[in-house]
């Protein structure tokens, strides 16, 4: 079927089987291989992308469900220059093998946006904010993104260094 996707502000008109997931469309058909496939089951978060600014697992959605949506992948986070979050991941040692990193970056971008809109999490002390980027808040808010290399201290430090400036 004919599917029109907008990825990183570029339009793609694709002829795809209805079974193609958003993740496979992005990687195999559009050729943006930044987003990763870890489990293909919604459990690891390596495939996290932003759809209309919100994080989703691209492996658990069909490409055809996203006709007309604004999709952002890790490639769309930088504009020639690294985004502050990307630079912070390098500075704070937020990765080792790097496989989970595109998902972590997209997820953290969406998460900081949620905080800026005043979304509490299950571990927040109050519903009205402001929310400190404590260990507990970060573990809860980033719970969908696993890191097999266990770089959580670096990931949290990187997110905190950007989030606290925002």
């Amino acid at each position: 079927m004919q599917i029109d996707l907008t990825i990183n502000q570029k339009s793609y008109s694709l002829e795809l089987d209805s079974r193609v997931t958003l993740l496979d469309a992005i990687r195999e058909h559009v050729g943006l291989t930044g987003s990763k496939k870890g489990c293909d089951h919604g459990q690891c978060g390596a495939c996290t992308v932003l759809v209309n600014g919100r994080r989703i697992n691209a492996c658990l959605s069909l490409a055809a469900m996203h006709d007309g949506d604004e999709i952002t992948t890790v490639e769309g986070l930088s504009d020639g220059e690294l985004s502050p979050l990307q630079a912070a991941f390098i500075k704070e040692d937020g990765f080792q093998c790097g496989y989970c990193t595109p998902g972590q970056l997209c997820s953290a971008t969406g998460m900081l946006q949620e905080i800026s809109e005043g979304w509490p999490s299950h571990v927040s002390d109050s519903l009205d904010g402001p929310y400190e980027l404590s260990e507990a808040e970060l573990s809860e808010r980033m719970s969908g993104n696993l890191c097999r290399c266990s770089c959580y201290p670096g990931i949290n430090a990187a997110i905190r260094s950007v989030g606290e400036k925002a």
Binding site: N57, A64, M65, G144
Partner: protein, 262 residues
């Protein structure tokens, strides 16, 4: 996945017409259905997406109850329900992880009736009504066992109405890899009665713990639960925990919920 056609209707009437045809199944957030399609556990000829139907989304207070339309995502419920029914918002805010909550819907969750799903516990404990495209069914008559519900072919969940308790708490002991409940208990305290439901523990799915309800209705305190435990018969035993462990954890979750409210 087996091959299927995908339709994206924008009105409920159109969707129901499509679903009336043989071989058609609804698709909501896909957080359960896409993995099952991939494992070839489902083989619909056509999937009818409910995600582009505006009339299936939203939350509203109706007197003493909260009505949640079937296509409302977990994330939308969290943000729409804090002020009206905080215990339910808290439950929704702990389903899976943030990405799952962006897509997954209440309709998909209650229709699927996973034995560890969260919403069925809240629906049973509060005495909710499930609205379908054809009728209204009491939660007690809707959840019929492992992945079984009262839904007929072509019938969909269009909403759930939850009576709002004075106070409620959901204590969830998670299996950390999936974030699903190993044992979780929803306690809803009303003026004249207390509702208690357990999920994650039973091979028959979520169920009301009536002995706990009776004890708490008489005396809402942890002490009133002295000696009360869940029989191990029919509880799930798997790699994550045995039946004895789940029985024990359900008891702990119940007491924590009551302690939080008493």
């Amino acid at each position: 996945m087996y091959d299927f056609e995908l339709a994206r209707p924008t009105t409920l009437a159109e969707a129901l017409e499509m679903l009336a045809e043989e071989g058609s199944d609804p698709l909501s957030g896909g957080q359960t259905l896409i993995p099952s399609l991939r494992a070839r556990l489902a083989m619909p000829e056509r999937l009818v997406s409910l995600m582009h139907i505006d009339e299936l989304k939203g939350i509203e207070q109706r007197g003493d109850a909260l009505h949640v339309k079937g296509g409302t995502t977990h994330a939308q419920l969290v943000h729409g329900a804090y002020d009206i029914f905080p215990g339910l918002a808290s439950l929704a805010g702990r389903i899976g992880d943030p990405a799952v909550r962006t897509r997954g819907t209440i309709g998909g969750s209650v229709a699927n009736n996973d034995p560890a799903a969260c919403y069925p516990a809240a629906a049973l404990a509060t005495g909710a009504t499930i609205h379908t495209s054809q009728r209204e069914v009491a939660a007690d008559d809707f959840f019929l066992g492992l992945f079984e519900t009262a839904l007929e072919e072509g019938e969909i969940v269009t909403g759930v109405t939850f009576p709002i308790p004075q106070a409620s708490a959901y204590e969830k002991f998670i299996q950390p890899a999936s974030h699903f409940a190993l044992a979780a208990v929803f306690v809803a305290r009303f003026d004249t009665r207390v509702g208690v439901a357990v999920t994650g523990a039973s091979e028959d799915g979520a169920f009301r713990w009536k002995e706990a309800e009776a004890a708490l209705t008489e005396d809402f305190s942890v002490a009133a639960l002295e000696g009360l435990s869940l029989p191990e018969q029919g509880l799930i035993a798997d790699v994550h925990g045995g039946a004895d462990y789940r029985a024990r954890m359900a008891g702990v979750m119940l007491r924590r919920a009551v302690a939080a409210l008493a």
